[in-house]
Amino acid sequence: MLGVPFRPAVATGGGPLQRRVAQSAVARYGVAVVSVAVMVVLGLLLRPIVLAAGQLLLLAVLVTGWISGLRPALLAWGLATAAFAYHFTLPLDSVKVDPDQVPRLMIFALVAGFMATMSAARRRAEDLLRSARDELEARVRERTTELGESERRYRHIFDSTGVSIWEEDLSRVKQALDHLQARGVHDVGDYLAGHPEFVEHVIALVKIVDVNDASVALFEAGSKEELVVSLLRIFVPETRAAFRKAMTSLAEGRPFFQGESVVQTLKGQRLTVLFTVTFPRPPASFESVLVTVTDITDRKRAEYLTGHVFETSPDAVYIVGRDYRYQRVNAAFERRWRLPAQRIVGMRVDELAGTEPFEATYKPHLDRCFAGEEASFVGWFPTPAGRQYLAATYSPLRPDSQRVEAALAITRDLTDHARAAEALQQAQAELAHMTRVTTLGEMTASIAHEVNQPLAAIVADANASLNWLASATPDLDRVREALAAIVKDGHRAANVIQRIRQLVTRTVPQKARLDVNDVIRDVVPLIATEVRSHEVSLRLDLAVAVPPVVADRVQLQQVLINLVMNGMEAMTSIADRPRELVIRSRPHEGGQVLLAVEDAGVGIDPSSVSRLFTAFFTTKRDGMGMGLSISRSIIEAHGGRLWATSNARHGATFQFALPALR
């Protein structure tokens, strides 16, 4: 049946003649009339030879039933019976029928009627059969088309997919494993591990049916044929372990195997791959088993790198979820908190790091990170290893969605740096203090004079007042004036002493908002006597409005005193021009404030300009050579710059610029 060529299905069925007749009632009944007429003519022609020729009319009924069905057959039966009675029953060609001829006529009528119904029934059965056959044929055809389409789709997927797919015949492998189990081996995995020669045998039993283009490309083969020769060409020792596991899965009747392994290309390049094998369900055949091979070399490499960096980083790296609980921590983090990772993971940050630092620092920064920002901070934090100075950065982690799922934290322990910086700062402050004391020591005579002057005035005024009060008519106005002057001079002396005490006692720098003009005015009384004794004229050239700076007042005074003392000393030998010293303040480029001390001295010796600011460099007989070096450190610690230039005519200008407060 399946071999019959396809014809379009028609509900009525039948052969070509029948189909044509079936199309109209006239034709169907016409067949009855025509066939009876033909048989009448044929019977009449044969009647002179044999009267039984009338039996040919049965043929007309038979043919009509076969071609046109039951009703036309009944018509043919009627016509044939009438024609038989008329032409072939004695008396011939008469409507009359001899009584002895009646049984003959009745037999004819009965036989004709039987033939009509039989023929029509047969005809109907044949029709039904044919229609059933046609329907089946159509369905088979349809199914075949579908299968063809499916096959085409499958081939297309097989060939064009980017994943390497291997079609393998594992039926002999399955047999070998079945045989193994039949011999009583229950743990196939164990057996395979202990029998490498059997594994090699099983590998050889794998028949590679086909590979797709992606496989050819992945395994650097020239053609499919080159690749399907043997699995051994792509196997390396590590591949055998994965193969054993796959075979164990197969033996244990699992539907699926997935595993990572290493293979090599035909050119010897090692690849890390992910295998998946989908096994058929018995009793299906193992002749066509699909194995996919996904190249995960780059992914593994990236994973390895990430993991390696994570684990070996000297910085503590950890991941905190939105519930503030540790999700993952690295070895450096374990070391910092002296707890194993499995204990830390799941803890809340406050449980480990303490409630107070958590609320004050960790939580606000984590919240910012969860909101999508990168957050950084530095500070001293308590840890089991003592207080540590930590610099932390929180980066938002969004593994799948837009929503930040966790924070990646990297914290670096800067305790040693911070301690060193603190120590350096402390040392610098102490050195600065020491040089201040030294400078003041050198200025003792001047400072004593500076205090002594108001004291001398006070004593003279007080004596004068006593004298006036002792007279018969005391001049109280004069006494009052003198007392007011005493108060003023008392403050003047106290002021000088207070400034000196500031310079001498404080060592810890305290930065505050300052006007450099105030700093200059503070220094002037301290240096006034030195200025006089050096026979120098001091001129202040202060800008009316300079932006404020943030600095330590005492240290700026120290720098200024240093520069002034240097300037005056540079002019000691000058006799041919005025010994003028100018202290100048100016707003400076780049949002800075400039403070300059300009002298008319001997200027800077070009050979010593590079060493000018180095410690212990001095041109003075009794100098320590610390002044300019310390001054530069102080200014740099304030984020500023100290430098010297030669003046156009005489002397030099030492100046520093500090960032202005915005």
């Binding site: 002057q453 004291l455 005024d461 002792a470 026979e535």
Partner: protein, 142 residues
Amino acid sequence: MPLPAWMMPLTEDRQRPMAKRDGRVVCIVDDDASLRRSLRNLLMSLGFRVETFASAEAFLESVHPDGVGCMVLDVRMAGMSGVDLLRHLAATGSPVPAIMLTAHTDDETRRRSLEAGAVAFLEKPVRSDALLAAVRTALSSA
């Protein structure tokens, strides 16, 4: 607690003011305004006629029709120093008896001052009786 002797007023001199016996002027040359004013007060309270000058140069430029009785001079001043002024006056043939004032005594300055013709060498703060005695000596030596 009794005041040190140098702070005590000179009761004897209040009863015998100098100005009544001597009309010559005492000139104070000091570049410190406070000191100039207070010394002037002290000498005036003792009955002297006083004139003050902020520098040696200012003194040299001034005119003294009644003549100068004596000078109270600060040793260290901006510009011409007290010692320089004394030398200058001696060199120009018009020496004036002078009392030198200094913040702290150093032997070199004292020696040079006395060489230049100073009558007395006093340390600041100056004792009232010492100043009075020195001014009297200076005036009498003129």
